[in-house]
Point group: C2
């Protein structure tokens, strides 16, 4: 950093503002519970309070932080509130925030091994750690033919796995000549919307995505998958990709990996397993059953940025055959050539993802694993699962609500006994109150409340309070 007359923030000013901001963040976490979880602001309110033109001359940092307090904070959904039970969590932790700060401070760009060896090697190493931590198949390790890479999101991991599958199925011809309209992909009716998005982006077309029927637990039916593949082959099409879901977004349904994997193996179809939220639970041996059969998968992902205390973005994506992924995504212009790449002795992660550039995201993951230790991470995962199971028990024992899906981990799906309107009204009233935040889905066409326990600081009292508020609102709906 440089002289005060240079417009740059001086080193002393950076220290001062940085210390203040660290304290501000610590204060935020000490008081985040006091904020309404959901922003009460109507559309346009934040923009209306921002000046129409950018400033010609520089402003004080204090003025910026004042606007953060006055304009930004009221416009947030507080994902880090312990009363946040919506969607899937995007939790974080102290060591993760500091890891992200360090990454921003160093400001290295790890597109190639040569553009910061430590950025690549730490990532490779920590992702190998994750294979052991979750007891994933050894084939996903970089020391075998596979390897892991950090993607921004599971959506991007899905897209990359589909592209690898597409090129494997066509011997690289699609990259060269474009699609021929004959490739078919498969996922359950409960799979994440990112599968449909990837199928469109990759040029397969939505009509070539088969949504396979599910059983009573909302898990993919392997027999239905096998039948569909057979039918597609009979029509001269080429099945190339199955995405199995380990913990669906709607209800945490678990597709049976072993049965699906055997079909994929016999049919020579790429199997991707998407465990975006649920994967973290495999830290604990007692939850690893969901991964039975994962040895059949060609790729796998889960998001430490959902449930493993690592701030967004951080999706851990693994492939069994890294050459297949690299073949699909590699480009080498002259201006990126270098000795290390030419030697073949290093990983260049830009060939493992859509973008070229990349941040040093392994730092925050490394900090989180080292700060908590595997033991500390397990402790919190078990705690969240226990709390969700307890909540499920309360739902089961209640007259007002009924649970309508299994609760393998930390997500509970339930409905008010009076039906959709009652359930929707309860959710809207709770969210508007700011006391807690829930979201919904539809299961069998019915409006379903979802409560997911996964925010870092959610404790028993928050879940108890959520249940008390649900009962209160249910009573109002019943008498309304």
């Amino acid at each position: 950093m440089s002289k005060p007359d240079s417009f740059h923030m001086s080193p002393d000013a950076f220290r001062e503002h940085g210390h203040d901001l660290v304290d501000w963040i610590a204060d935020y976490y000490e008081h985040v519970e006091d904020f309404p979880v959901q922003s009460p602001l109507p559309p346009g309110d934040v923009r209306d309070r921002l000046p129409e033109a950018p400033p010609e001359t520089g402003e004080d940092f204090a003025a910026m932080m004042e606007d953060v307090e006055d304009i930004i904070l009221p416009g947030l959904l507080h994902w880090q509130s312990p009363n946040f039970f919506g969607y899937f969590p995007a939790n974080t932790s102290g060591p993760s925030i500091l890891g992200e700060l360090l990454s921003a401070g160093l400001g290295v760009q790890g597109m190639l091994w040569a553009t910061s060896p430590a950025c690549t090697e730490l990532e490779t190493h920590v992702l190998d750690w994750l294979v052991d931590m979750l007891a994933l198949p050894d084939g996903f390790k970089s020391t075998e033919d596979g390897g892991g890479v950090i993607q921004d999101t599971a959506s991007s991991a899905t897209l990359c796995s589909l592209l690898a599958a597409r090129e494997r199925a066509t011997d690289g011809a699609t990259n060269e000549q474009g699609g021929d309209g004959r490739l078919v992909a498969y996922a359950s009716t409960q799979a994440h919307s990112s599968i449909e998005k990837a199928v469109k982006i990759a040029g397969l077309g939505r009509e070539q995505l088969r949504l396979i029927d599910v059983d009573a637990t909302y898990a993919m039916r392997p027999d239905a998958l096998a039948t569909q593949i057979e039918q597609d082959r009979a029509e001269g099409l080429t099945p190339c990709y199955v995405c199995a879901t380990v913990g669906s977004t709607s209800s945490n349904a678990m597709d049976p990996l072993d049965a699906i994997g055997r079909i994929c193996r016999d049919e020579d179809v790429w199997l991707h397993a998407d465990a975006a939220m649920a994967g973290t639970a495999a830290l604990c041996p007692e939850f690893r059953g969901m991964h039975d059969g994962l040895e059949h998968a060609d790729s796998y992902c889960f998001n430490p940025h959902k449930w493993m205390f690592t701030n967004f973005d951080c999706d851990a994506f693994f492939v069994k055959d890294r050459a297949a992924l690299i073949n699909a995504l590699s480009i080498l212009p002259e201006y990126l050539r270098n000795e290390a790449t030419a030697s073949g002795a290093v990983i260049d992660y830009r060939d493992w993802q859509v973008p070229l550039g990349r941040r040093f995201r392994a730092l925050k993951l490394w900090f989180v694993i080292r700060h908590y230790g595997v033991d500390g991470l397990r402790h919190h995962v078990r705690r969240h699962v226990e709390l969700a199971q307890e909540f499920a028990g309360w739902v089961d024992a209640s007259d007002a609500f009924e649970r309508i899906a299994p609760v393998p981990l930390n997500l509970v799906c339930f409905q008010h006994v009076d039906g959709d309107d009652a359930s929707r009204s309860i959710m809207e009233r709770l969210n508007a109150s700011g006391d807690l935040f829930l979201t919904h889905t539809k299961l069998d066409g019915r409006f379903t409340l979802r409560l997911c326990v996964g925010q870092t600081y959610t404790e028993r009292r928050h879940v108890e309070h959520a249940w008390a508020r649900l009962q209160e609102e249910a009573a109002i709906v019943a008498t309304g």
Copy 2:
């Protein structure tokens, strides 16, 4: 944050480690010049120093920072060294680092307007500011039919623009039915590798990418583009996308937007303008000539994370017709439905990008613009351009080197008069010395040195030193 017996980092510990880390980063910038710019480590060295297994129990933050010093730092290419002249810069600044810290601290996920209104509205607003700051066409504003969005990289902006173009050319049929192999895309022979990558990902196929010839300044020849489009139409193909480059990666060549834009308009072809590095220069009126004709473009991007003091990742991507982009990328599963989205009154940025989730990246951009003011940003851009022009003058006056491309802004391309081997040897010796960092390209088949002035803290003395070291190494090569 929570009790000390919970494995979490306590608020007090967060404050303490956070303050220390802020100071560590300030120290880093005060000493970054002393590090060899390029890491001297051979492949595998960093990994060899990391423990094979992850820790079962948690470790002290101090132990982590010790390893950062001992293992990570020696393995970095110091992108933030003022002696970094390689690739294009990925610069940053104090306010940007603090903005990223705040984003990580708040931990909100802005996939939808409803998941943090301020995250979406600040982004929309600041990107409208950029339209004014760079004097881009008003049609790119959200207050017209267009709008801006932050992508991770220009690669992703290219892909998104190509997908929008693909769907516009086929009335949405490719998303539904898949590609038909008839769509053709165009860019110059000097365009970035991300165009080829996007054409492959989107299922058009590399053979449907036409690389158009360039003139003596390495700029696309509009006559050659027109001829190629005509020829493709005659063969029954459908031209759908032209990527014009405003500042090519190899030599900062400027494709003539006006002439290309008129062809695209007449041919109803989507024009994307990629100004990844050079765009920032449009802060200064005297450099805006490169954007003449930009009113013909359907989309445009530049990277504040390259030259506008905003840490990676932050690409500003603009479209003239936001509906075309949203039509190409929108997916709406039940679990993401909400009242605000249904009202149509808000922007949901997950429909403007490939991934679903997103960080609050507008904060750092907002902080940078407010800290420097437009005036402060202009000051540094002008300074960098001046220094590069001065360096170009030294090259022109020297017997050892010759400049071989125009220097419209801050990138100088030059060769040693003795040819490729001499140029390569000089680059390798300089980079190995750690004194500065340069990269290369090929122009007309010849090995070409590139020196780009764009790191935040690069001053006259650093450029002078680079030139002195180049002359030293040239003398050694000459006598060798």
